[in-house]
């Protein structure tokens, strides 16, 4: 590796470490959140540097964008007293630091021999790509080879939403419309729908797919809700429930149909893999977008009704 490449990697690594340390040590919660958003962004750059465009997309949309919005939303609901409360350096700061350092050293020892080994799954994926029905290996892993993981992950998202439903109402805060912001979001929201749709469509042959697309759609919807341009997406509407549950239901139904027809649970019949995966992805995208929107922005009343 050339010196220049080292410079680039070194700068990335140094920056990400500085940010992580600063996130944990800064006194103000607000600054900590802002730094964490920057941390997420930097991670997206690192994934890109390591040749993982899918992850760069996902991290930019989910890791930096939505997690940031979530943290800001939580910050907006926390009381003034809590925000101001400073973190005292208490007695176990020393032992905790020492423990973490020792663990880090042990782990470095563990990862030392790993760069020279390789994985049995890389050739296995390459072998079966032709049968998977899609052209992009990551999409093939997500929706064919390890579809069960993906189905369970949709259930995790659903469960997080249901868990939020259990919580009692928080302080009511009505969003106020602000003309400039409204104009701004009228511009941004269609863009996010457009790019989201583009990522979904690209997903079968190139990096992109349901999660990235869903996150982008959610970002657009969140913006519209924040500025009061979108009506409340209440749980009591049947179509909202159908959207949220649709991803899991379609996925499960196709999986069971596969078992019924003898292609195995979550298997696709010959020649049908491509269209079925696209169908699942469309429903999953809508489901992810709706669930994330309600998770980030839904007032408790709206979620519980």
């Amino acid at each position: 590796m050339s010196l220049h490449e080292w410079m680039l990697d070194g700068t990335l690594g140094l920056l990400v470490l500085i940010l992580a340390v600063a996130v944990l040590h800064v006194r103000s919660l607000y600054i900590s959140i802002v730094l964490f958003i920057a941390f997420g962004l930097l991670l997206a750059l690192i994934w890109a540097r390591l040749g993982a465009p899918d992850l760069a997309l996902a991290e930019a949309a989910i890791g930096a964008g939505l997690t940031g919005t979530l943290l800001l939303a939580a910050y907006g609901r926390v009381s003034e007293r809590r925000r101001k409360a400073e973190e005292p350096l208490d007695w176990h700061a020393g032992p905790a630091l020492l423990l973490s350092l020792i663990i880090a050293v042990i782990l470095m020892r563990a990862v030392w021999p790993l760069p020279d080994l390789d994985s049995a799954l890389v050739p296995a994926v390459a072998d079966q790509m032709a049968q998977s029905g899609v052209g992009h290996p990551v999409t093939a892993v997500l929706l064919s080879f390890r579809a069960w993981d993906t189905l369970l992950e949709l259930l995790v998202l659903l469960l997080a939403f249901m868990a939020v439903r259990q919580l009692l109402p928080s302080l009511p805060r009505q969003p106020e419309a602000w003309p400039l912001l409204q104009a701004w979001s009228r511009l941004l929201a269609p863009l996010s729908v457009l790019i989201g749709g583009y990522l979904l469509w690209r997903g079968s042959a190139d990096p992109g797919g349901a999660f990235q697309a869903g996150a982008l759609l959610a970002a657009g919807a969140i913006l519209l809700r924040l500025t009061g341009l979108l009506p409340a997406l209440g749980w009591h509407h049947f179509w909202i429930r159908a959207l949220i549950l649709g991803g899991c239901m379609v996925f499960l139904a196709i999986g069971v149909a596969g078992y019924w027809l003898g292609t195995g649970f979550l298997g696709y019949a010959d020649g049908w893999a491509g269209p079925l995966i696209l169908l699942i992805e469309v429903f999953a995208t809508l489901s992810i977008a709706t669930t994330l929107t309600l998770l980030v922005i839904g007032e408790t009343r709206e979620v519980r009704e």
Partner: protein
């Protein structure tokens, strides 16, 4: 395999339908639980007749696909979790003190059962991570059903559970980096006792111990289990903590190289003894009834951990039977105890142990259920708890220098006898009974007694059960 798949998917479909229709119908859940139980029983029959089976998901060849494995213990656990879930569902629908009847308890508990079944059937390190997250989120959501006072413990539980998952996930990443596969059976054929493997296995073990509340990582459990609604406490104590324990067992008995297992065994066994003694001590001291039952879970998990540790140390597959009998016996007894405790404290209007004075007179059936379940926890013959303890002790009697383990078990038994008798003795103090606030719910009391009787009933089928669990044909 079809039956096992039905047992896995039925609860998931039920949960989705309940949510879509915004229904809170307990009857529907009871009916599907019953069907799930039948499917699980059918899969148990299937595996006994046809032997262990595999299912490659999506029909992809092995290193690539996630595989479901149906072996006798998996099928038994499917039946066990369906049974407990059915019982708790009947309680939640029928008891007048159940606070969960008109809440999202129904879809959440169905999802909990579905994710647990997914965990039993899976054999893939990363897939287990996802099922663990499902299980954790469902459990925390169920704890949060009790309202604002439970939010603190729920948040604490959630953060620890997330941290534990990441400890586990780092171990998975290292194992994948070292061997390049994720399937536990394939890993078992490849693993060697080198540094990376050792660290990876220990990371996974620590994460799972935190999730299963095994000593010394148990501190979150009593608060979380005690603050949950009664039906939820029963589910959490009887089922949820057993999930990580199952992964731990497969990780060490199937995936780890023998040298590593022999090396790690004593550490886990000693942690088990510490759990027995210290958890039991806390149960003896606490003034709250539900905390007592929750601490007893910490203590009883010590037996399972000890069985696992000794199984690894001596490489004795016979201890498998002891481990899983403990899990079954404890699950049944604990479901009974939590239901009884919840009913008692709801009728008495107090959460203190001291309020139980004279309950043998005012609520004899509930108290009887508590005492019978307690008997199995102590290990009185001929209960299921006794059977498990006997199996654990058997190899120790064969060699003289195994006496420290016997002493540990003895101490644990004494302490568990201590906290059970603490409650029972109070209940027999009829001089000045605390009157119940309103009429107790007889149906719920009998329901609480049911699993306790089943534990004792295990003794009747002890011989075939042990033979079957140890894999010796009759």
């Amino acid at each position: 395999m079809t039956a096992a798949l039905i047992a896995l998917l039925l609860p998931l479909f039920t949960a989705l339908c309940l949510l879509l229709l915004r229904s809170r119908s307990g009857v529907l859940v009871i009916v599907t639980s019953l069907l799930t139980l039948l499917a699980a029983a059918w899969s148990l029959y299937d595996v006994t007749v046809n032997g262990p089976q595999w299912l490659e998901l999506g029909d992809w060849p092995p290193p690539l696909a996630i595989r479901f494995q149906l072996q006798p213990i998996t099928a038994l656990l499917l039946v066990f979790s369906a049974m407990i879930h059915l019982l708790v569902a009947v309680y939640a629908a029928g008891s007048q003190h159940s606070k969960t009847r008109y809440t999202d308890f129904w879809p959440l508990s169905c999802l909990l059962q579905g994710s647990l079944n997914a965990l039993w059937l899976s054999g893939d390190l990363f897939n287990w991570y996802v099922t663990l997250e499902l299980l954790g989120l469902a459990a925390v959501a169920l704890v949060a059903l009790s309202g604002r006072k439970a939010y603190g413990p729920a948040l604490n539980y959630l953060l620890l559970s997330l941290g534990a998952s990441l400890v586990y996930l780092l171990g998975v990443a290292l194992a994948y980096g070292r061997y390049g596969v994720l399937d536990i059976s394939l890993l078992g054929a490849m693993t060697e006792a080198d540094t990376t493997t050792r660290i990876a296995w220990w990371l996974m073990t620590l994460g799972l111990m935190l999730k299963a509340a095994l000593w010394p990582f148990h501190l979150w459990l009593p608060r979380a289990h005690a603050s949950a609604p009664t039906a939820v406490s029963a589910l959490l104590s009887a089922l949820v903590v057993k999930g990580p324990l199952f992964i731990l067992w497969r990780l060490w008995s199937e995936g780890a190289p023998t040298e590593l297992a022999v090396e790690a065994g004593p550490v886990l066994a000693v942690a088990g003894i510490a759990a027995l003694i210290l958890g039991g001590w806390s149960a003896l001291r606490t003034p709250w009834l539900k905390s007592l039952v929750a601490y007893s879970t910490v203590a009883q998990l010590g037996y399972a951990l000890m069985a696992l540790g000794l199984l690894m140390y001596w490489q004795l597959p016979a201890l498998d039977a002891a481990l899983w009998l403990f899990v079954l016996a404890h699950g049944l007894a604990k479901a009974s105890m939590f239901l009884a405790a919840g009913e008692l404290q709801a009728s008495l209007g107090s959460k203190r142990v001291s309020a139980l004075r004279g309950t043998t007179e005012t609520m004899p059936v509930a108290m009887f259920a508590f005492a019978v379940a307690g008997g199995s926890l102590i290990g009185l013959p001929p209960s299921g708890g006794f059977l498990a303890k006997w199996l654990l002790l058997e190899p120790m009697f064969e060699t003289v220098n195994h006496w420290p383990w016997v002493v540990g078990i003895l101490l644990g038994t004494l302490i568990s006898a201590g906290y059970v008798f603490r409650v029972v003795a109070l209940a027999f103090d009829r001089a000045d009974p605390v009157p119940p606030d309103f009429s107790p719910d007889r149906f719920a009391h009998w329901l609480a007694l049911l699993p306790a009787l089943v534990v004792w009933g295990l003794a009747l089928i002890s011989e075939p059960l042990i033979h079957w669990l140890t894999g010796v044909p009759l």
